[in-house]
């Protein structure tokens, strides 16, 4: 169970600012931020508080069970982001 950031994400990072457990990456201090296509939620550390859902100005965040058909693959994409070499779940 986790929340998932999908295609509309514009890297506004309001979600990251409100997340109580730092599970969203990359943050504005991360060197990857400038080239990031979107932000990602680490499904291993997300506690399902859903604070990010309303904080997101573009409504890009869904509960993984409730992903619309066209965004279903984003659950795997959010997970994969954190499985890359050198990826970190912590906000730098």
């Amino acid at each position: 169970m986790a929340y998932v950031i999908t295609a509309p994400c514009v890297a506004d990072y309001s979600c990251l600012e409100i997340c109580p457990v730092n599970c969203i990456s990359p943050g504005p201090a991360d060197e990857k931020f400038g080239s990031a296509e979107q932000l990602y939620i680490n499904p291993k550390t997300c506690i399902n508080c859903a604070a990010c859902v309303e904080a997101c100005p573009v409504l890009a965040i869904y509960e993984d069970d409730n992903l619309p058909k066209k965004y279903k693959h984003y659950a795997e994409i959010n997970k994969e982001y954190f499985e890359q070499d050198g990826a970190t779940a912590a906000r730098v």
């Binding site: 514009v10 506004d12 504005p28 931020f33 400038g34 296509e37 979107q38 100005p57 573009v58």
Partner: protein, 445 residues
């Protein structure tokens, strides 16, 4: 707007902010750049920017041209600090013969046109040819390709300007070729933009690139050496090619390792000569595109260059010609590296035209931190700063028809109501005089 956010967030100070905008309407590229089929991205205005604009410490002065109605030196006097976030209003040229032929445009102009920007609404795009060629393969290129190929029924439900919907309904364009200088592993588009092409009804996608296979590109060593995002893009290209519709209505062709050499035609463009590139590793082992002598030709009547926006010089401010930005260090405007007191920049006119909407939030954070620091260190010139009422008087003396926040809300309401009747989120106004009439309440709805 992000600069507003960071200024308002500074709770140790009670900062009053006046927002000047040349057009009667705010939001910049969120209104005029983001593609009409990305309504969720435009929500950033309704769900976020809206609240900053409406904050009691903020005043909106629309329809005021800085550099004409009021000068930079006046603003520098009237206010403790001035932040410029005017964006990038020009573009990078291809630098090839025939670039100025009729039918050759900047994608920037096409985007502003279909998004109803008042300065571009009168442009005449000839969509009667069968093939359009886009030079460059970033997100703007893909936005344009989608708008040129999406079903008109879908276009009619967006906030695309009505004259553009009309023109696109009568378009003869069947094929859109997107030229990329580098290979299929170096596509500049982002993954979400690429995968959207799969949702375009009855649109076939093809890929022309050395070494690109319809499937199994993972066995290429260059593939494994690429970033996660780049590998996902190639897999998506494979999917797009494999899932092409049986009876396509339109065709999008990704032509990699291709550069424009010349545009040819009598008075308007009739064909584009394309040079083929090859990838070669440089001394550091990085793959670079190198030109070859190979040439081919594509018949086309519409060439849109999408190889980058570029910032213009701003009256009264030092310009960095090489980077196409207002000269600055971390957002503090400098003249030959000497800071100009109280003058700042943020966004594309500071960093260059790159990144997505949220990149500007981090950018503005850096700029505002510099401004606040300067304020606390007594660097800002506050001696002649005017009161809010004094500013209003100054502007009134000059007979400028400013648009207030209330005026913008009237325009906003008018557009949304007009949209309701057509199942569109809004029906955009694009005539400045009409906007002013609505804003000042002189028109009947």
């Amino acid at each position: 707007m992000y600069a507003l956010e960071h200024l308002l967030e500074e709770r140790s100070l009670d900062i009053q902010i006046d927002l000047y905008e040349r057009l009667p309407v705010p939001w910049g590229l969120v209104r005029f750049g983001v593609a009409p089929d990305h309504p969720e991205k435009k929500l950033v205005a309704d769900r976020l920017f809206n609240y900053f604009l409406g904050h009691r410490n903020v005043r909106f002065f629309g329809n005021v041209t800085v550099g004409k109605d009021v000068s930079h030196s006046e603003l520098a006097e009237w206010y403790d600090g001035v932040i410029y976030s005017v964006g990038a209003n020009s573009d990078i040229h291809m630098g090839v013969e025939g670039e100025d032929l009729k039918g050759s445009w900047a994608a920037r102009e096409f985007v502003a046109w279909y998004n109803g920007h008042p300065d571009f609404s009168g442009l005449d795009f000839d969509l009667s040819c069968k093939r359009a060629v886009i030079v460059g393969n970033g997100n703007v290129a893909l936005d344009v390709a989608r708008i040129l190929t999406m079903p008109i029924e879908d276009l009619k439900k967006t906030d695309t300007a009505d004259y553009a919907i009309e023109a696109l309904s009568n378009s003869n364009i069947e094929e859109v070729v997107i030229l990329g200088r580098r290979g299929h592993l170096q596509g500049a588009y982002n993954n979400p933009e690429l995968e959207e092409l799969a949702h375009l009804e009855d649109v076939k996608v093809s890929v022309e690139s050395d070494g690109f296979l319809p499937t199994g590109n993972d066995s290429d060593p260059a593939f494994s050496a690429s970033s996660w995002e780049a590998r996902r893009k190639v897999k998506m290209l494979e999917q797009l090619v494999q899932n092409s519709p049986a009876d396509p209505r339109k065709h999008i062709v990704f032509k990699f390792l291709a550069s424009p050499i010349e545009l040819q035609g009598s008075d308007s463009v009739e064909q584009i000569v394309v040079g083929h590139n090859k990838l070669e590793a440089d001394d550091q082992g990085n793959l670079k595109a190198k030109a070859t002598d190979q040439r081919s030709s594509l018949e086309t009547g519409l060439v849109l260059r999408a190889i980058g926006y570029r910032g213009n010089a701003f009256p009264g401010l030092p310009y960095d010609e090489q980077r196409g930005v207002i000269e600055n260090i971390d957002g503090r405007v400098t003249d030959n590296s000497v800071p100009l007191k109280g003058t700042y920049v943020t966004g594309w006119i500071k960093r260059g035209p790159q990144g997505i909407i949220g990149s500007n939030k981090q950018c503005a954070d850096v700029t505002v931190k510099c401004l606040i620091e300067d304020g606390k260190n007594g660097v800002l010139e506050t001696a002649n700063t005017l009161s809010a009422d004094a500013v209003t008087s100054k502007l009134a003396e000059r007979n400028i028809k400013t648009v207030s926040e209330q005026g913008w809300r009237k325009i906003d309401h008018f557009e949304r109501s007009a949209g309701l009747a057509h199942q569109q989120p809004r029906r955009k106004l694009y005539d400045v005089n009409k906007m002013l009439d609505i804003a000042t309440g002189e028109a009947t709805a």
